[in-house]
């Protein structure tokens, strides 16, 4: 009897502990991330707008019923030609109002990762709407693949919604400026966590995309944005590949050593990939997250006064060598074409 009671007690403790563990292993802000079933419930609800952030031609092929498109993929339509967010909020007010997003509208944004790499467009739109102070923004986890995997049908009829009034209430703290990054780099500003969302090669300087390669001094950690996605087997190559879905355990493991209460800024090459970092920081409950919009493209192109860790100048010798190789290949190709022409004439 005693033995049975002890056994039951141990089992009970185990079950409760397991339940507690599974309960604690969740996003701090789970409402920001939707699954396909949650999206299905809001289709047709006039208080909700589904924003398709993919290219227009993909939207035309098939989209979630009722979803709208802004006519361009979001990272282009919502930023200027230099990939920077508009600082004039009235441009967004007009655009979002025209497509039917008002201040009371909940917005669920989706893209696609594997084929078109437009999960980045999703997170650009998410960050911009949050920067504009819109607090009703959500992301479909896994994008349109999640919807298709759930067995729901697509539609190819475009949606035009009635215009609404969108008034921005800009949250400046969500936009990290290059001036702030300089203060962090020089040590004038402390207690800020800086996350480099570029690849390891870009961080080390092996992949050069500006006049100078390297990283911002006092960068806390390099978390390549693609690594944070769930991984699944690619059917063509058989290798494990990022699939565009986010899960708590995987994402949290990258940020486990960071302090939730400190200001935390993500950056990459153009401030695009780091908008995924921003979403992840929001999901995990970081108190003061931000995206550095100008990122390395602006910082790494300055010569003076911008300190760089692991500094490497752009290797123009390598470019020269590549140019020579291309020239030789062009000559070979021209010779082959000439020979083929001659052979054709002989026949």
């Amino acid at each position: 009897m005693v033995k049975k009671s002890v056994l039951l007690f141990i089992m009970g403790v185990f079950i409760l502990a397991s339940a507690g563990l599974s309960h604690s292993a969740q996003w701090a802000n789970p409402h920001l991330l939707f699954d396909a079933n949650q999206v299905k419930e809001i289709v047709g609800n006039p208080d909700w707008v589904l924003l398709d952030c993919r290219k227009l031609k993909d939207y035309a092929k098939g989209h979630i019923p009722g979803a709208i498109s802004i006519g361009k993929q979001c990272k282009k339509g919502l930023r200027d030609k230099t990939s920077r967010a508009f600082r004039d909020a009235s441009k967004y007010e007009k655009l979002f109002g025209k497509v039917g997003i008002g201040n009371d509208t909940h917005v669920v944004i989706y893209g696609e990762h594997v084929k078109s790499d437009t999960m980045k467009d999703t997170t650009v739109a998410f960050w911009i709407l949050e920067y504009l102070g819109h607090d009703k923004v959500h992301v479909l986890n896994g994008g349109i693949d999640a919807w298709i995997n759930a067995g729901y049908a697509l539609d190819n009829k475009p949606t035009i919604l009635a215009a609404k009034t969108f008034k921005a209430n800009v949250v400046n703290s969500r936009y990290a400026t290059t001036d702030e990054i300089l203060e962090i780099a020089t040590g004038a500003k402390k207690n800020v966590q800086l996350i480099d969302a570029r690849t390891k090669d870009e961080n080390k300087g092996a992949d050069q995309r500006a006049l100078r390669a390297g990283y911002v001094p006092n960068t806390t950690v390099n978390i390549s944005h693609k690594d944070t996605f769930d991984q699944s087997e690619d059917l063509e190559s058989g290798k494990m590949k990022d699939n565009g879905f986010l899960s708590y355990d995987r994402v949290a493991s990258f940020y486990k050593d960071l302090d939730l209460n400190k200001r935390t800024v993500g950056y990459c090459q153009t401030g695009t990939r780091s908008t995924l970092t921003y979403l992840e920081l929001r999901l995990l409950g970081f108190k003061d997250p931000a995206n550095w919009d100008e990122s390395w493209r602006v910082y790494g192109s300055h010569y003076k006064d911008f300190p760089v860790a692991g500094e490497q100048f752009f290797d123009f010798n390598r470019v020269k060598k590549a140019e020579k190789k291309i020239k030789k290949l062009e000559e070979k190709l021209a010779a082959l074409e000439e020979k083929a022409k001659e052979d054709e004439e002989k026949k």
Binding site: K55, A60, G77, L95, I148, Y152, L154, N156, K157, I160
Partner: protein, 72 residues
């Protein structure tokens, strides 16, 4: 012989319909979308390829979204 041919034709038609239906059901893509190269007669010219459903009203709507920006 003719009866056999008739049955064969009916079976092929039913199977072809089922194949198309299952394909559409599993991919979610509904009939009506044609790439420009495949259907030039649909008059989809210039810019991004649009589906048959992307009517004039929608194109006007998209143009109006960026009108002021383009004018600047």
């Amino acid at each position: 012989m003719e009866r056999r041919m008739l049955i064969l034709v009916v079976v092929i038609l039913v199977m072809a319909f089922m194949f198309g239906y299952i394909n559409s059901y599993s991919t979610g893509i509904q009939p009506g979308y044609f790439e420009k190269a495949e259907a030039p007669a649909y008059g989809v010219g210039g810019g991004e390829t649009l589906a048959a459903g992307m009517d004039e009203e929608f194109q006007k709507h998209l143009k109006a979204l960026y009108q002021e920006e383009d004018e600047e």
